[in-house]
Amino acid sequence: MIRIDHVTFSYGEENESAGGVQDINLNIEDGQFIVLCGESGCGKTTITRLINGLIPHYYEGKMNGEVWVNGAKISEQPLYDTAKTVGSVFQNPRSQFFNVDTTSEITFGCENLGQPKQGIRERLEKTVRNFRLEKLMGRNIFHLSGGEKQKIACAGVSIMEPDVLVMDEPSSNLDASSILDLRATLAFWKSQGKTIIVSEHRLYYLRGLADCFIYITAGQVEKDYSAAEFEQLTERQRADMGLRTFILEDLLPPETSPQTGKQMELHNFCFAYKNEPETLHISKDKIPANRIVGIIGNNGAGKSTFSRCFCGLEKRCGEVIWNGRTYRPKDRLNTCYMVMQEVNHQLFTETVLDEVRISMEDENQEWAEEILSSLDLGDIKDRHPMSLSGGQKQRVAIASAIASKRSILFFDEPTSGLDYKHMKEVANVLRQVRNTGITVYVITHDLELILECCTDIVHFENGSILDQFQMDASGLEKIWSFFLRGCL
């Protein structure tokens, strides 16, 4: 049983409320499945850290109150002891593994605790069977997909057989089918009677599993819903609370009218990475232009290879014919721009304004400021780009693309890990960009974003375009069937 008793915590020395919590009181019974929900920065991650002991042992700050897990005071118990009862899975699959190969990663926790070898081997066998990991054993983790990495992370926690599992936005970087795998893992733990605490933006995959939803705003518990009560809320009410959709079927269809528009022709988009089989094979096809086009498909379907080739990052791949002009890879490097999922990589200078200015052919202060204010960045033009929030960074990257007069923008998972409000913001920015005449392609696993702003869909599978359609009534059917396949 977990007891959080009048806990107040703030990060760092300042008394800022950012991410901290005030006067939290929670009692979580054994075997319960709790979901912590609320907007970004509301403090739900902080609560997970209070339970797994990272606060106060890793993240420093001011703390009052006490947390008990199974009768032990977390603040007085070293992390390696807490690790025996509380297992944690985090948001970013890339940064939570310590080893290079999957087998050692799974056994890592047990090895740290100095458990006997034979016992670890037996546990490993059992875990591999339970999680159906036979195919992933002995592999290099760097070559796995995000979903597979997350599965290994879950297995690595499960092998330690903790009573409590704490997950911090585990679905943020996953595609639709990996989210279903994650759901299966959670169901397995629930069946074993584990206590589960998940902090999450995406809620739909937790439906039918969670016993209780705790809604948090500004660092305080606003309301405690039972699963039945939460189900009773309308999508509207949840949206007003800043929460993502819970019942996918209830999502409202977009209010877009079908358009007939221009198209781009693709020729010879075939590509293989060095020493690997061909991952992309489109000899000739057309895709919509001048609109917001959602690119969907499961991991390994060739979406990201396609976008890399399209943006000209791979030197020898394909030609695009658009408006009667042929664009070779080198030409596309100057006409396209990709806003990466890790935006940090594409911001280089020391102020936001500089970032835009150096992208221009001829530096033009006025125009730069104009672009910035149109993207709501006017007030922060002198800040360092790395100090901004994720959404702001994204907009800075967009601003630099506009400044260098790109006419095609690619977005790679722009809404991963975003709450409802920020997802809406991204959708608005995409529409705004499209209205200036720029073609927008969005690689996404986010059904809500698609319904919010995409007018066309291109569906990839096995390295080629399986289907493409507009978001009209029949298109809607298809998108439902892609996202809801096998779901719930």
């Binding site: 890793y58 020391e350 800040r383 360092h384 780009p385 790395m386 100090s387």
Partner: protein
């Protein structure tokens, strides 16, 4: 806070050692193929690695971290086939660097520059086999061409030139440290990393 190194510190240590080593190699590998540049390699290395090292120092608050970094760098050099002289040298100069930094309470800007420069001298360890080699080729030269000629050739890389190598590393390390500090101020403190 206890003064013993904890898991968190050890991870930081690994993280910055790998940054230090990889960034150094980015300079060393292309240049290392031209033998004439070998004597200035250490100097260039310590110039560029001033950047990660200064960032590292913002996280060093405990004695021993610089020493271990020296040993680890030496080990990495050894693993890449450059001989294991870097290990003892790394331990010695890392320890000296640590002592200097500690005397400044791990805060003093001046001490951190000098501490880094002293630490950088572990690079001399990678030169030791090269000087063995010079002596070696002198012997072979002397055997085939006579001592007079061999001496002339050796004038290009005489034993005392190791002093120049040492001075070069030290001076460039100071410059590298300044460069690192400048970048810290320009980027990392504004970005909220420090």
């Amino acid at each position: 806070m206890r003064n013993k190194l904890q898991a968190k510190d050890l991870i930081n240590l690994g993280l910055f050692t790998v940054l230090y080593f990889v960034i150094g190699c980015c300079v060393a590998i292309p240049i290392g193929f031209v033998p004439i540049f070998l004597p200035i390699l250490g100097a260039l290395w310590s110039l560029i690695t001033g950047i990660p090292f200064m960032l590292f120092l913002t996280r060093v608050k405990k004695f021993g971290m610089v020493t271990i970094m020296g040993i680890l760098s030496g080990l990495l050099m050894g693993l890449t086939g450059m001989g294991f002289w870097g290990v003892p040298m790394g331990a010695v100069f890392g320890l000296l660097g640590d002592l200097l930094l500690k005397s400044g309470g791990y805060k003093s800007a001046k001490r951190s520059l000098i501490g880094y420069a002293v630490f950088s001298l572990w690079m001399v360890g990678t030169y030791i086999p090269m000087y063995f080699m010079v002596e070696d080729s002198w012997a072979s030269f002397a055997a085939s061409f006579g001592e007079e000629y061999a001496d002339k050739v050796m004038a290009v890389m005489p034993m005392w030139s190791i002093i120049l190598v040492i001075v070069g590393i030290f001076v460039f390390a100071i410059l590298g440290g300044l460069l690192g500090k400048a970048l810290l101020k320009k980027h990392f403190s504004k970005a909220g990393i420090v």
